[in-house]
């Protein structure tokens, strides 16, 4: 303790240690990141199963088109990588892999390019129809992402995120990119303008909101309970 005495008062340190030691109770460490990710993916599989069982879109026929499959896989993979990074971001000292983040971003970009060039843009649709159909898709994109978002938020909140905004961003990306992929299964429209405006844009808006929410509420801050106790 000689080392601490020259800066932090010995009495202060002693009081602090005594107080905290007296409050020690067994605590269950967080499950490993892989385990929690698997749990979250089980939820996503459930959402996907629900989507597949309720859709009237003949998406199985589309599965013969490699471009469609690649697009789906790109977005789903980007969602899983984001979720993995989100869970890691809630563990102090776990460095987030920049290459993994870059891969996720590249997958989203590539998926967007693929969906844009796969079909010609149709601007001849009446605006009313475009908006009416689109609003429903935007709503469904958000609804499909809500439960996975809440689950991932809770899993991250259980940890101790050091950068709230980053965790919020990753939580949003994990949930909404998966939701985007699920919407590609349930929505029969493949027209790029519709997909960009009513699928991707709402997802990006929710991801932005999630980033803001993360900055406000996800960052780990010790409660003031102990502060008052030791003062």
């Amino acid at each position: 303790m000689n080392g601490t005495a020259y800066i932090v008062h010995e009495e202060h340190h002693r009081a602090l240690v005594k107080r905290l030691s007296s409050e020690v109770t067994p605590t269950r460490p967080l499950w490993p990141v892989g385990g929690r990710l698997a749990l979250w993916m089980m939820l996503e599989v459930g959402v996907l199963a629900w989507v597949i069982s309720h859709t009237t879109n003949h998406f199985t026929a589309k599965l013969t088109h490699p471009v469609y499959v690649i697009e789906l896989l790109f977005f789903a993979a980007a969602a899983i990588i984001s979720a993995l990074l989100a869970l890691r971001s809630a563990i102090p000292g776990r460095t987030l892999s920049a290459s993994a983040a870059a891969i996720a971003a590249a997958l989203v970009l590539a998926g967007t390019i693929v969906l844009t060039i796969a079909q010609p843009m149709d601007t001849s649709n009446p605006l009313g129809d475009f908006v009416r159909t689109g609003l429903r898709c935007a709503y469904e994109t958000v609804v499909l992402g809500t439960l996975p978002w809440l689950a991932l938020w809770w899993l991250v909140k259980r940890g101790a995120a050091m950068e709230g905004w980053l965790s919020g961003l990753l939580v949003g990306a994990g949930a909404l990119l998966f939701s985007f992929a699920a919407m590609r299964i349930t929505c029969p429209i493949d027209e790029p303008l519709h997909l960009l405006t009513w699928h991707l844009l709402p997802a990006l808006v929710v991801i932005t909101l999630s980033t803001l929410a993360g900055a406000a509420w996800l960052r780990f801050r010790p409660r003031s309970r102990h502060r008052a106790a030791v003062d």
């Binding site: 240690v17 020690v24 102090p92 101790a160 102990h226």
Partner: protein, 189 residues
Amino acid sequence: MAAPNVMKRLDDSQHLERSRLRARLMERLQQGDAHACQELLDNIGPSLTHFLRRRVADPHELEDVYQEVFMAIFEARHTYEPGRPFEPWLFAIARNIAVDFSRKRWSRSHWEELVAELPEQSADRSNEAAPELDAVLAQLPPEQREAFSMLKLDGLSVQAAAARAGVSVGALKVRAHRAYKSLKRLIGG
């Protein structure tokens, strides 16, 4: 050339051993062992002090940050993954608290600059046909008047004024800030 290498290896092995000891203590702390908690906190104290000293210059502030870090470690103990190195976890939390503290200090000093503005303006205007301070203060809502009086007339610190008013420091700052804005408007600043 061999001697420094031997020294370095010795140093490395000591660090490794210390790191393992801390990791073991942390695992026991997670299981609810109070002695392990005590031993761990004593063990990390010097390293933490050294780490924080490079980030916080003022000894009094350092003591506050030190306390906050200990509490944060305690609260976040469930996030330590057994079997992983302890130090990255510890110093990530310490860095986070130190950054938080710097931000708070910056916003506090920024706010204090804002607060310091008003009396000077009032003094400059003392010769003009400005209304009497008492008369102007009487027009403020009671909480704002109280906040202003405690801070600027009684000379209390924000913390002391908040304690006297029975509100949080943040709430008192808001009241005082509103009082200054109202006063500026009333005085015509």
